[in-house]
Symmetry: C2
Subunit: 198 residues, 2 copies
DNA sequence: ATATTTATTGAATGTTCATTCAATATTAAG
DNA sequence: CTTAATATTGAATGAACATTCAATAAATAT
């Protein structure tokens, strides 16, 4: 049971790091500030994460895990039985409820690191492949879709979802936001119906 | 003609900043390092950009301007005359030639700032609106497309293009990259043909 | 109960950071 | 040619940075 304290402290530190990065930006979240935020000395952080790179890797692991944890079940629990309700699927893909639990700023700050850190790139890719695979499995449960190239379909759906989130993040106005969202939902619906009628 | 020196120096500094950020990452490109890279004292940088925020704003302006400068003409010079060659359009939207001139790492690092800087968010939005508008204008030149909702179509096309670039950045393997690219081209082609036959 | 390992503390390290300042060189204006 | 404005330099600032270390406290193993 020696691992317990270590495990808890590591998680506490990473969560504090994430929370602080959310507030002041990843680039401003120094070890000293994380320490102050958690009311522990910086040296204790370095005890568990011997250098900052490891701490950042830890944060990214945490973020990707949580991204998957809140995103996957939303589309996983569709209760498919031969026939899939495509409208429900689309609604869930674009449901923003989980966005309240997840900070896009930290996510994209970390994403920007994929360009100079192969291990981070691999971790991000892994997440995105998993999400696609989940959707593919769901489509395959419907007898009609199962006859199609569901892997390609899942890919095409997600590229719209991800492009949409990327773009929607720039929009402040609520009405405009809603309008664009409608566009993108219709677009995904189009992909699904096209495959359905093929 | 006193403005000349100032103009040139400011541009030189921002270009040096961009170049260095490309090499070592935006978060590591300090004023001292930019100075060393350009062989000028840090104080000269501060003479033209009184604080680092202004320097970053300058960099973002530079990036967005160049993004537009290399992206826009690629689709603008389609030579539309009533009939638009959709295949050429798709090829150009996904042509990676300009990507050699443009660093995605710096672009996304700056993008991540939209979440905590309204002025940066506005600048990014402005760029994306302009690109969409250009495409819309091109579609409108074709008599068939002009009867459709070209604004929505342009939006839907770009959301795929942007989602595709976001996703493709994670892929190292050349073959896999090419395969996915095919998917996304087909997807945009689908949108165009669907509108064409409506 | 003692020994050993791990957790935690707080002070100190040298380095790098953005920024300031006064001094000098260059340029443009009168 | 003189003056005023701008450009450039180099040295100096204190604050913040990641990291180290020795000392103490707590937990676990023998």
């Amino acid at each position: 049971m020696k691992k317990k304290i270590r495990q808890e402290r590591e998680l506490e530190i990473i969560e504090g790091f994430y929370q602080l990065a959310k507030e002041i930006g990843l680039e401003n979240a120094s070890i000293a500030k994380i320490g102050k935020h958690l009311d522990i000395p910086p040296s204790l952080i370095m005890h568990y994460f011997p250098n900052k790179d490891l701490l950042i890797k830890g944060l990214i692991g945490y973020i990707l895990e949580h991204y998957q944890l809140i995103y996957e079940p939303i589309i996983k629990h569709l209760n498919v039985s031969h026939k899939l309700d495509v409208h429900v699927l689309v609604e869930r893909l674009f449901s923003r409820e989980w966005n309240l639990l997840f900070d896009d700023g930290v996510f994209y700050s970390c994403y920007a690191m994929i360009f100079r850190e192969p291990s981070i790139r691999a971790a991000y890719k892994d997440l995105h492949l998993t999400l696609r695979k989940t959707l593919e499995d769901i489509l395959n449960q419907d007898t009609t879709f199962a006859q199609q190239d569901t892997r390609q379909l899942a890919e095409q759906i997600y590229v719209v979802v991800e492009g949409a989130y990327y773009y929607l993040a720039m929009i402040d106005d609520e009405n405009e936001y809603g309008e664009k969202l409608q566009y993108f939902k219709k677009q995904v619906l189009g992909l699904l119906q096209e495959a359905f009628n093929a």
